[in-house]
Symmetry: C2
Subunit: 202 residues, 2 copies
Amino acid sequence: MKSADYPEPFRALVRELRRLPGVGPRSAERMALWALEDGERSSALAEALGEARAKVRHCAECGFFSMTEVCDLCADDDRENILCVVERATDILPIERSGAFRGHYHALGGRLSPLEHIGPEDLRLEQLTSRLERHVFSEVILALSTDVEGEATSNYLTQLLASRAVRVTRLAQGVPAGGGLEHADELTLARALAGRRWAGEG
Amino acid sequence: MKSADYPEPFRALVRELRRLPGVGPRSAERMALWALEDGERSSALAEALGEARAKVRHCAECGFFSMTEVCDLCADDDRENILCVVERATDILPIERSGAFRGHYHALGGRLSPLEHIGPEDLRLEQLTSRLERHVFSEVILALSTDVEGEATSNYLTQLLASRAVRVTRLAQGVPAGGGLEHADELTLARALAGRRWAGEG
């Protein structure tokens, strides 16, 4: 009896789908099955990949996605004179959608990670300092991850910007909105306690 | 101030990625970012989609994936004379890899679902009865899902096959291997109890 396996083009598709972030072996198989069930689906996906690759680039200023050299966000003169630094271009719209910030953005394109060999030279730091030289922002908000690598990157940026006459702030850490305390880990609780505010404050 | 959004080709790619099973809005954005970070990645994925679509088909017999009319599994004469019926073509290899079954397979291509307008005519039932007419299997194992729609499909198949001189069986239901009882829901525990076996049995 022969051992069974998928045909090679199916396995190749599963391999490519597994490279997508957050996709494990079983979901990749389900996705491949889904793509093969209907030829229109996979050609639409393949076409969207090609179109996006051909037409979308990173904004030369902030690193957000754009079809032009400078994106709509950077070209918008009505925005506040505050710069919010994020790790990835996909972090920008969630902040924008929160409605709590109406300034400019700067995506680093990642964060410092010795394990993944990502050093300062791999981030969009020159673009950041160049922007700060060309334009005086009233504040730079560091909106990076709160895990070890994000914290290290925030600390690095704080030192990098220390000599500049700009106020550098970080996002508040605490318990998430709409969640019970039982879901918060000890470090989150510790930070929520350390950052507690008067009950009368906005 | 303008409201910000991704460029249209990026949103189109996110829309296509969201159609993949198990992918929500945030993961689709992460995947699109990942695809755009490196042109090689998205072209490899687009190419794999095209190759698989062009070369892989469903086996005319069992519905598994194949590059030929009849798949390797169906063409294998050394297999036992038992037929295992599953819902999807991707259910076959997990059973094969369990090492506990060495017979033939039949993928229905889905299951009965009134909510999704999937009736008996949408499943590979004619192919199943045709196979049973052409070949006498010693047993048909129904290895479908254990949720409501899977159970309904198993019941439908049991009735459909009742008039045939073939033994129809179902997979055992019970607590999963390697898991604590605290993870098993009440229905699973009830079925594990109802199906309990003498401690001495294999």
